[in-house]
């Protein structure tokens, strides 16, 4: 039985449909990546599922409790790490985490232990008595992430956990999210970072303009793209149209993207079969190959496949609206 189940979940803000008839099913114990550009409806979905805002239409059950009719029961199961740290400027990291742990029902000894260990884990122990307004964006974000790691809720909504965090910090937080899952939490990870969704999620749902476009494991999503394999070929000189037409004529080749005249990205099927053919084709045309590289498609490619836009283009479009 899914731990989160929505049918036709919709949220309208006046004329804007932020989330449009969302059907979603999330199993207990999985990390579910909710992927999409800013403005796709990820945060609105999280806020509806966590009972902070009311759906306009549709139903949502969290831990088998309806978010409309039994919100108190839902809130006992959930915790949120917000996209923007929700901290008052006069508070200190210690105050914020200590109170959060108290209100989430941790015993005194457990609270003290978890707050101290988590402040240490996120490198905030030294800064625990500083006012929030004196902390950098990354530090505030680490405090926000620490809240949910201390709480260890049954269902954790984590909204862009590593925005404003440096590369080393990102890997540390990813490990902590995996530990949280291993400790028994179900995690809904809302993110616009494709790599983050790819490395962390058991399943990914791609949202765009409030709609869920597709939802599956990262591997299956990548495999679902026709021409899902990619060969990147760098040539000594530019390939002429005749060679490109010949390349396009290979039955396994789906698409050729010219990054530069001498740098080609070939989307194709059955990579192991076609690479020797490609090499021969260029050698026969007296074109020397500087390098050739095979790669899997990324979730970036999946996003482009389903929306016709890169995630950056989609964000730009949503901002200009």
């Amino acid at each position: 039985m899914p731990i989160i189940h929505t049918i036709g979940l919709t949220k309208r803000f006046e004329d804007v449909v932020a989330v449009d008839k969302l059907n979603l099913s999330i199993d207990e114990g999985e990390i579910f990546g909710l992927l999409g550009p800013n403005g796709a409806g990820k945060t609105t979905t999280v806020l509806m599922l966590s009972t902070v805002i009311k759906p306009t239409q549709g139903t949502a059950k969290v831990g088998n409790h309806d978010v409309r009719t039994n919100p108190d029961a839902v809130r006992k199961l959930i915790g949120i790490c917000f996209q923007e740290p929700k901290l008052m400027w006069v508070s200190t990291p210690w105050d914020v985490l200590n109170w959060h742990a108290k209100v989430c029902g941790l015993s005194t000894s457990e609270r003290k232990h978890r707050v101290k260990s988590m402040l240490t884990e996120v490198n905030m122990w030294e800064h625990r008595r500083k006012r929030i307004h004196g902390l950098s964006g990354g530090m505030k974000k680490r405090v926000e992430v620490a809240k949910i790691l201390i709480q260890r809720p049954k269902i954790a909504f984590i909204d862009e956990p590593t925005s404003q965090i440096d590369v080393v910090g990102k890997h540390k937080i990813w490990d902590m999210i995996r530990e949280l899952r291993d400790d028994g939490s179900t995690i809904i990870l809302a993110t616009n970072e494709l790599y983050e969704a790819d490395v962390l999620s058991n399943r990914v749902g791609i949202m765009h303009k409030g709609r869920m476009l597709v939802c599956d494991t990262p591997k299956k999503l990548k495999d679902s793209i026709l021409g899902g394999d990619i060969v990147e070929v760098q040539l000594e000189k530019a390939a002429d149209n005749h060679v490109l037409d010949e390349l396009k004529g290979l039955e396994e080749v789906v698409e050729i993207v010219k990054i530069r005249p001498d740098d080609l990205r070939v989307h194709l099927n059955k990579v192991e079969k076609v690479v020797p053919k490609i090499v021969n084709l260029f050698l026969n045309a007296k074109l020397s190959i500087s390098s050739i590289r095979m790669s899997e498609p990324s979730l970036d490619d999946v996003f482009v496949h389903y929306t016709g836009l890169t995630i950056e283009e989609a964000e730009k479009k949503s901002k200009t609206k």
Binding site: T51, I53, R75, L87, V90
Partner: protein, 262 residues
């Protein structure tokens, strides 16, 4: 966790935050000092000389109630500040029911008003004295209920208006009516002299009840045109408290639940 424990945690949070606003506490104390030292002393000279001291005592007691009112209203501004920082969404996502949250905030708002006004009440009592301990304790109880009620009213208005600017203007206008049309600054007899309508309105005003009860507790009820035991004022305060702390909670619970705030 028991509901009472959750309410107390919400109260604790508000109290901790308030203590961090040291600057506000200092400014409020300076404001009180200025009201007493400038306005109180000068305005007392406007009444007939033999009543100057009496009016001064009357006025100081009134200023205490004004401070208690404005400090209790402050919780509504906190809500907007929290909304601005997104903290309100955080509070709404916690394993605390809306009822516990709002009740805790009303009580927290009331208690912190007393923390702020407490030293000023002590100074006032040192200046004007008090009648007897039971009267004073009863008056204090009534003032607690008044402070909780005003905090509840402030939260109710804040979640109803949903706009910081609207709230600011509305509370300014409300304060102009509720404080000016009360016996905070002038005895009931003068309000009556000015207008019968004013007198009626001031008699159904929680600020009047609080002012009268405080003066009764301090033993300066002889300046008031009220009965020796201000039962009406006491009942008025209790009704006000129940209206905004309990009935109000149900109202804004409905508004908040599931995101009515947005």
């Amino acid at each position: 966790m028991r509901p009472m424990r959750k309410i107390l945690l919400v109260v604790e949070r508000d109290l901790r935050r308030f203590i961090q606003y040291k600057f506000l506490v200092i400014l409020r104390t300076i404001w009180f000092g200025a009201q007493v030292a400038f306005f109180g002393l000068i305005a007392s000279r406007m009444v007939v000389p033999e009543l100057a001291d009496i009016y001064f005592e009357f006025y100081i007691a009134g200023v205490v109630i004004m401070m208690l009112y404005s400090s209790s209203v402050f919780i509504g501004y906190d809500i907007f500040e929290e909304a601005e920082h997104g903290v309100f969404e955080y509070l709404l996502s916690l394993p605390v029911s809306r009822r516990e949250l709002v009740l805790g905030r009303s009580i927290g708002g009331g208690i912190r008003s007393f923390i702020l006004v407490g030293p000023i009440i002590a100074i006032t009592l040192a200046i004007i004295g008090w009648a007897n301990l039971p009267n004073l304790l009863l008056a204090f109880t009534a003032l607690f209920l008044f402070a909780f009620g005003v905090s509840g009213m402030s939260i109710t208005i804040a979640v109803t208006l949903k706009s910081g600017d609207h709230f600011d203007i509305f509370m300014g206008v409300l304060s102009a009516f509720i404080v000016r049309l009360s016996t905070t600054m002038y005895p009931q007899a003068f309000v009556q002299d000015a207008s019968q309508a004013y007198a009626i309105l001031s008699q159904f005003n929680p600020v009047t009840y609080a002012s009268d009860l405080f003066r009764w507790g301090t033993g300066i009820e002889r300046y008031l045109t009220m009965s020796p035991m201000p039962l009406a004022a006491l009942i008025g305060i209790v009704i006000f408290f129940f209206l905004f702390t309990l009935v109000g909670v149900t109202f804004y619970e409905k508004r908040l639940e599931g995101g009515g705030w947005q």
